[in-house]
Symmetry: C2
Subunit: 376 residues, 2 copies
């Protein structure tokens, strides 16, 4: 690697503190094309950049170019875009490309894309030759605020979402806000669902900031987007540093996700974006929490209002055919089930409070599911 001057582009850095595996998340405008941060963390002679057919045409050339400028020998893989391709079959295409190009275990994988690419490439890096280095270059808001941070990697199985995977941390996360300019509105909104989550489960001030700035977020105001990503990453990094392998606390990041995953599995991968399913699931969790008397109905309404203001769906899609039986079947397979008990993340107390528990009146869950199914 040739010497390069320090980064010329302004960016902020959030550290994920995991001892010897500590790594930085860089957040800034133009930091991908500028190249110094990527070259700093791809220290191998060879790299495999994996992207999809939507992001590739936009950012693959510049990513490859900045690596080659640093003297890295680069190969590329372009996968089909979409949650329905987050499968072992598609992951094996990454393995085959790496083997065909004779990548050895000193190489680095680079994940260029959204959550599907990040999850799949991270998992591929975890298992290729029993583990190679990788760098996350998230190009969606969802990936920047959630999936690229924290080392959860996985592929889906027809019987359940993210059922096959590993905890595996990247060398760095490079979140270039410039890539959000090309993001479709629906994808932008999907990412906001996870931003709202951080406010609801642990950061009341952040929630209130979002209520005030949701218009600016939707309008892609650069400063507002950067601040949303930075504050989200700070929340996620704090949780992950305290509980990397989800012994307890980390599970709270799954607010709305147990219902949401059931919706994704029930409707078939790709019918909804992940954040859209999470928004509906968050609505369900808020309603159930209010039924249990754990939060005021006014707080549930406020959560739903913010999700709606972010242009997110909060009800099951018409004609999707979700049934209580489909919810139950998918939720029984949730990774948070422990020895038969389904534990849920629910809101409790004032804004910013939540619990992760299997101790709740199951009738409240059944009623919530029935009501949402009835309104389809």
């Amino acid at each position: 690697m040739v010497a390069s001057p320090p980064s010329k582009t302004l960016h902020s850095t959030v550290e994920v503190d995991l001892g010897s595996r500590t790594y930085p998340i860089y957040i800034g405008e133009g930091i991908l094309r500028e190249g110094d941060l990527l070259r700093k963390h791809v220290t191998s002679k060879r790299a495999l950049v994996i992207t999809n057919d939507r992001v590739g045409p936009l950012y693959l050339d510049e990513t490859v170019a900045v690596l080659r400028e640093g003297g890295v020998q680069v190969e590329t893989v372009v996968l089909p875009d979409g949650e329905e391709y987050k499968s072992m079959e598609v992951l094996m295409k990454i393995m085959e490309a790496a083997l065909t190009h004779r990548m050895d275990r000193t190489c680095t994988f680079v994940a260029l894309g959204g959550g599907v690419i990040g999850d799949m490439v991270g998992f591929a890096a975890a298992i290729y030759q029993r583990g190679v280095k990788f760098v996350q270059v998230p190009t969606t808001l969802m990936a920047m605020v959630d999936s690229a941070v924290g080392g959860k990697t996985a592929v889906n199985h027809p019987l359940g979402k993210n059922m096959i995977g590993a905890f595996y941390q990247p060398q760095a996360v490079i979140a270039d806000m410039a890539t959000l300019r090309t993001l479709p509105d629906r994808e932008l909104a999907s990412g906001i669902a996870e931003v709202v989550k951080y406010g609801l489960i642990r950061d009341a001030a952040f929630f209130e900031w979002q209520e005030a700035r949701v218009g600016a977020l939707r309008a892609r105001d650069a400063e507002t987007l950067s601040e949303a990503v930075r504050r989200s990453c700070e929340n996620k990094a704090a949780v992950v540093a305290a509980d990397e392998r989800e012994a307890g606390l980390r599970a709270t990041l799954n607010l709305g996700h147990t219902f949401g995953h059931a919706i994704e599995t029930g409707l078939g991968y790709g019918a909804l974006l992940h954040g859209e399913a999470v928004a509906i699931g968050t609505h369900m969790a808020a309603v159930m929490s209010a039924k249990l008397g754990w939060i005021d109905a006014a707080l549930a309404a406020r959560a739903v209002a913010l999700l709606r203001a972010a242009a997110l769906p909060v009800e099951l899609p018409r004609g999707g055919g979700m049934t209580p039986a489909k919810f139950e079947a998918a939720m029984a397979l949730d990774k948070k089930v422990s020895e038969g008990e389904l534990r849920l993340v629910l809101l409790r107390g004032p804004l910013g409070g939540c619990v992760f528990t299997g101790e709740y009146d199951a009738a409240a869950m059944r009623e919530t599911i029935a009501e949402f199914c009835a309104r389809q």
Copy 2:
């Protein structure tokens, strides 16, 4: 789990010292059927026992029975037997069974079989729901002395052996010497190839013990087999504790394996047993070491004599069609290649000495390969 009395059966224990992931290897006669050790380490409510269609008919019923006696709810998977089934496609059958039975991440996988089952089940445990516990119950000498110990798990890819996997440690290894009684002679010999390896790379006294006891080993003398397993596990545990992720020292356990893997890949998985390919590879490594002047020709001859005495092949099979080009293609993909340099484990100095290095005269390697190919 119901309370059980302490183990009634005599066994020896070798510890693999890996801090919080330290685990025991139990070696004894009848300890599987006796059940206490297995029940001690399967502490979950549910277990998935995975075996193959050769070992299953012999030991699956008793394994399931002793777990059920402990109150564990047990499901089973029986896979086809053979190295050619150590693939991602077959591994996905384990995932599907676990999901179909709604196993959650508190469950335990039990690997009942030889090296293929152990490697595949260990890898399945590493990635099912991002990691569940597993116990190794090796039923071949190869698995007892090598593959079940140390946490290397993997499946093969058509382009290379063990290319997809993880470092993932079991809760315990239960090596019941009684299971070796049903092992075919060829499989027994295959295991001895790895026993010979420990002598050659680090334990001269053990090598000399083997020279004296190889007849008793082949005759399956119970005490001799137990001692061979115990001393092999002690060697392996010491190496793994010092270098779990193969930064250096652990690579020495691959004596003969780079040539051996190339032979396995070149002939097609299943043509030779792993230990048979390793025996030929060990012969090649010894010849190359002698060509380099790193060991006396007499030591190379002694190594080959012991392998032959163990009824192992030491030359490429006639009609197999191995060529120098096939060796080079497969060896270029070896996991020990680092930034283009092929590092090999070679013998150096008196009996028990070896090196792991990329600094050798490549002409010695080419000559060795050419000579072996010419003798086919």
